[in-house]
């Protein structure tokens, strides 16, 4: 099925929907038929053991997947009633609407803290009149303003790991994305920084739809509205075993494997 004859009517209450996402690296299939919906202004957690394809999946949502050599894909990702994989869509436009925060904080080392936050504007060649307001606003939303307001001109490398990660969040907020993808944003951070970021996520939910990959079940429970459980069994490609309201997934899972996983019996 090509994207032209694809007649899938997206639910307008969803910020994003995926339809039969299949992913290969070379000849090896790593994801099979992932169908998920991300309702507007909610937080969806993707959980599952290592190697089940969560990170691969999240990268298909803003077309970062295709940067990996040998990557292949079938399926559709609907954003604003349009398949982001349609032939005429520029990946650059998709990434402006769908921001991303990575597992490892990756601020630009050659730029100051302030320049880092505003880097997206320059990269996207966006002209703004109120750069200073945007700078402060984004840093406030990421919960970093108070800590860095007096040293915006110093190098981003001088920040701690947790601060760097919040800087990366602020950086991606500058472009006002509709959706923010977070790929294990707290896995390299201490509990204090993790808590700060979780608070940030809760505040951001008012305006942004968030998809977060996490290995931390407690974190999924704390921050997310919906949860999708990914699994890749016996070398078969990863797929979604169960998804739904976070409360349901954790307290009355339908599938035995979900029950085992969320209660720490494997993974």
């Amino acid at each position: 099925m090509s994207s032209q004859d694809f007649e899938f009517v997206a639910n307008s209450e969803n910020a994003m929907e995926t339809k039969d996402i299949n992913v290969w690296f070379g000849d090896r299939q790593v994801l099979a038929n992932v169908n998920l919906e991300f309702p507007t202004n909610t937080v969806t957690a993707l959980i599952g053991p290592s190697g089940c394809g969560k990170s691969t999946f999240i990268r298909t949502l803003n077309r970062m997947h295709e940067l990996i050599p040998g990557a292949k894909l079938a399926g559709h990702v609907m954003l604003d009633n349009e398949d982001i994989y349609a032939a005429h869509v520029d990946p650059v436009d998709v990434r402006l609407k769908v921001g991303m925060v990575f597992q490892k904080p990756n601020p630009f080392p050659s730029m100051s803290i302030g320049d880092n936050v505003l880097a997206g504007l320059k990269l996207a060649k966006r002209k703004v009149d109120d750069a200073e307001f945007i700078l402060e606003d984004s840093l406030r939303k990421a919960g970093l303003w108070e800590e860095v307001k007096d040293r915006l001109k110093t190098s981003a490398g001088s920040l701690s790991g947790g601060q760097q990660q919040r800087l990366c969040i602020a950086r991606s907020l500058v472009l006002k994305p509709q959706i923010l993808l977070m790929d294990e944003p707290c896995s390299a951070l201490d509990p204090g920084s993790t808590r700060r970021i979780e608070e940030t996520i809760k505040e951001l939910r008012e305006t942004v739809t968030i998809v977060i990959v996490t290995h931390n079940m407690q974190q999924a429970l704390r921050v997310s509205d919906y949860t999708a459980f990914f699994l890749s069994e016996d070398g078969r490609p990863g797929h979604v075993v169960e998804n739904g309201l976070t409360h349901d997934i954790f307290h009355k899972p339908q599938d035995e494997r979900t029950d085992d996983y969320v209660h720490g019996r494997f993974g």
């Binding site: 970062m64 990756n106 630009f108 080392p109 880097a119 990269l123 996207a124 990366c168």
Partner: protein, 351 residues
């Protein structure tokens, strides 16, 4: 222990027993004396003999010191220390034997400031150093190396960007050509420009022709080092920039190149150092000149290496002195270039 609650910072691992220091000093001073005696009384002779016996004695004493000395060490460690020390000694000796004659002979000319600022237009063979100079060669080198830098640094960095960032289909081909070019003997680069541009009448003997020949030699050095540098830039940064909606070009311009800046400057400096001392390609393209010529597009041009070459052919004492002085100037210029590049790079790294 006089002070149990010690609050003065020390480095206990660096404290050396004075007795051990004396033993060490004995080794360092005693073994060359022993070796010298040895070369006098035994058939072992000359500098080589001295070096060999010195090394042998040094190893022996290091071993004894390690076993019975004040500070016990493993034998293997003691041996290795001596070997590494000996290697460095040999290396420094090589460099010093090259540098020493250049400095000692070159300093003779330093009192004659006219050497730096005047040209050799009215200087006959073997005239005293107070007449004329090599200013024309200094200017020629600056102009030709400058033009070569302007040509090959952008091309070299673009080639490196193609290989590391674009990763297009021609990547293996570009790599192959860069590698093949770095093996080109410098005279061939000169011959190429000579036959392609000068014989065919497109260019005359000129500084520009010389600069073209130099850029052929400079390009592979710049391209290869720039590629190594760009490879060191973590992929995280590219991913971050792309995820922020940067196009590939803007990602390269705003994130990759700034992060690689100091390294890329180093690659350009290495390219300059590679060609600043080239003589052969310039003889066929810039030809050489006795007078100052600042126009790279007409008339032949001199450069420091070709000046050294022609002065040496003249053979008189004063001519040789001029040649040494020119060598000294060339060496000093390159040293200054390297040092300033280092300082620039360090400063950028700190910011």
């Amino acid at each position: 222990m006089s002070n149990l609650l010690s609050d003065t910072p020390t480095q206990p691992w660096k404290t050396v027993d004075p007795q051990y220091r004396i033993q060490q000093l004995g080794t360092h001073l005693g073994t060359p004396v022993l070796a010298l005696l040895f070369t006098v009384i035994t058939p072992m002779a000359g500098f080589t003999g001295f070096c060999v016996t010195w090394l042998a004695f040094h190893i022996l004493s290091a071993a004894l010191l390690a076993k019975y000395g004040k500070k016990q060490k493993s034998l293997a460690n003691a041996f290795l220390e001596v070997f590494v020390g000996a290697t460095i000694f040999v290396f420094v000796t090589f460099v010093a034997t090259v540098l020493w004659p250049v400095i000692s002979n070159g300093l003779v000319g330093i009192t004659h400031l006219n050497l730096l600022f005047e040209d050799a237009g009215k200087v006959g063979a073997d005239e005293p150093l107070s007449k004329g100079g090599l200013g024309h060669a200094i200017v020629g080198t600056i102009i030709m190396v400058g033009i070569a830098t302007l040509i090959s640094v952008p091309i070299g960095i673009l080639a490196a960007l193609y290989v590391t960032e674009v990763r297009g289909k021609l990547t293996p081909l570009v790599r192959f050509f860069v590698q093949a070019m770095s093996g080109v003997p410098s005279i061939v680069a000169g011959l190429f420009i000579y036959s392609a541009l000068i014989v065919s009448g497109i260019l005359q003997y000129s500084g520009f022709a010389g600069a073209l020949a130099l850029s052929i030699l400079m390009l592979p050095t710049v391209a290869r080092t720039a590629e190594e540098i760009l490879r060191l830039i973590p992929d995280d940064l590219r991913t971050a920039a792309l995820a922020l909606g940067g196009t590939q070009w803007r990602t390269v311009r705003m994130v990759v190149l700034p992060a690689a800046k100091s390294g890329l400057i180093t690659s350009a400096i290495l390219g300059v150092a590679r060609v600043a001392g080239e003589t052969a390609p310039l003889l066929l393209t810039a030809f050489g000149n006795n007078v100052l010529n600042v126009n790279p597009f007409s008339e032949s041009m001199s450069a420091l290496p070709s000046y050294v070459f022609t002065q040496m052919l003249l053979g008189g004492d004063n001519d040789m002195a001029r040649a040494w002085f020119a060598t000294f100037v060339l060496l000093t210029t390159i040293t200054i270039l390297f040092t300033s590049a280092r300082i620039v790079a360090d400063r950028m790294k700190r910011n």
